[in-house]
């Protein structure tokens, strides 16, 4: 489908490409169109850096992750086939690169428990006393918080979250349900759920 949209991509300028879907842009990049890559880059740049900041809590590290993420994307071309939401494809890359960046920055020795601690620290270091919701978020289990943010901040569907995290859809629902239940039950955040 997307392959037929842009045959002669040489003549395209970023202005011509701005209205195209991700699928069409990917097809154009597969044909060597750097202008299409530029559109994709600016379409997702801010989201990637903000997501990286969510994991690293460090501005410089977020920018490093941004660079490495798009180099990773670039290495997929030519021949890259987008089969889902582009955010679904980017999320695991950003997450893993962020963990690596934090580990590198803190000279932390890798271990499954260690990675978990690093990820948990991502929200805990963001002045929880300033905001009830932020504080409660930091108290949620990592898995629940991750699904909650993907759903309501990053606007991914449940199926897309399942794909991004490589977990069953039922697990996504269960984590989201538990996260929302905890927030509904807490005195400091129940006001958001009252009609």
């Amino acid at each position: 489908m997307a392959e037929n949209v842009l045959v002669d991509t040489k003549a395209n300028t970023p202005n011509d490409l701005e209205g195209l879907s991700d699928l069409d842009l990917i097809a154009a990049i597969n044909h060597g169109d750097a202008g299409a890559f530029e559109i994709v880059y600016f379409r997702y740049r801010d989201w990637v850096v903000s997501l990286a900041y969510r994991f690293t809590q460090d501005r410089d590290a977020s920018i490093d992750v941004l660079q490495e993420t798009f180099l990773y994307v670039l290495r997929k071309f030519p021949g890259f086939k987008l089969t889902a939401n582009f955010k679904t494809f980017l999320y695991p890359a950003v997450r893993n690169l962020s963990i690596a960046a934090r580990r590198k920055a803190s000279k932390y020795q890798a271990s499954p428990a260690g990675i978990h601690e690093l990820e948990s620290a991502a929200v805990e270091t963001s002045k929880p006393e300033c905001h009830d919701l932020e504080y409660l978020l930091s108290s949620l289990p990592l898995e629940q918080r991750e699904v909650l943010l993907l759903r309501f901040v990053d606007d991914l569907s449940l199926a897309e979250i399942a794909e991004a995290l490589a977990i069953p859809l039922g697990t996504v629902k269960s984590r989201l349900h538990n996260a929302l239940s905890a927030l509904r039950a807490d005195e400091r955040t129940k006001k958001f759920f009252e009609h």
């Binding site: 530029e38 501005r59 920018i63 660079q67």
Partner: protein
């Protein structure tokens, strides 16, 4: 698997009443979503030099194609292996010796040709020539070194003269560009 009611709509737009007995319990009020989004609003200023280096790399790589990178060579080897396995309907046992021996011979030949093509003397001179550019000291000169230089430029105005990559007497954005260009040329030439 799909639940279009909740799965495809943007969050906070469910029309049915919230209740614990159905999947609308997975939705949340708009006020909550807005508050949640506010907790994640962290403005990270992205320096224009970062955009420039990424887009320049994209232009160069998409123009030349990444066929010569080490990664691509390994991917090509994997593809060849899968094709051979498929051709001989290879099973993970010793019952198909012809396919096994054939595949091994082809892989050995590919590795031999890759080593011959690489040329040890060329590698030695390349490593010697680019020690200075290996800013992040990972043993390779690649685009990450250009990023490292861009970061150093952003963070400090007084950088050592040895970072004057293009030799114009000034350490500035043009050195980042020179390093990025050199890194892409290196990858194209087989040293990645």
């Amino acid at each position: 698997m799909q639940e279009p009611d909740d799965n495809e709509k943007p969050p906070g737009t469910s029309s049915r009443p919230v209740g614990p007995s159905n999947t609308e319990f997975l939705d949340a009020p708009l006020g909550f979503i807005q508050a949640l989004k506010r907790t994640q609003e962290h403005r990270v200023a992205i320096p224009p030099s970062v955009d420039e280096v990424i887009l320049r790399t994209a232009r160069q790589q998409l123009k030349s194609g990444p066929q010569s990178s080490k990664l691509q060579r390994f991917e090509g080897l994997g593809l060849l292996w899968r094709k051979l396995a498929r051709l001989g309907e290879w099973q993970p046992n010793w019952g198909a010796p012809a396919a096994w021996i054939g595949a091994t011979a082809v892989i050995a030949l590919v590795i031999f040709l890759a080593v011959i093509h690489k040329g040890p003397s060329q590698n030695k001179s390349a490593e010697k020539a680019f020690v200075r550019e290996d800013l992040n000291h990972d043993g390779q000169v690649d685009i990450l070194d250009a990023f490292a230089l861009a970061r150093q430029l952003r963070d400090s105005s007084n950088l050592p003269q040895q970072l004057d990559i293009n030799g114009d007497g000034v350490v500035d954005e043009r050195d980042v560009e020179a390093l990025a260009t050199a890194a892409v040329k290196l990858a194209k030439g087989g040293r990645s």
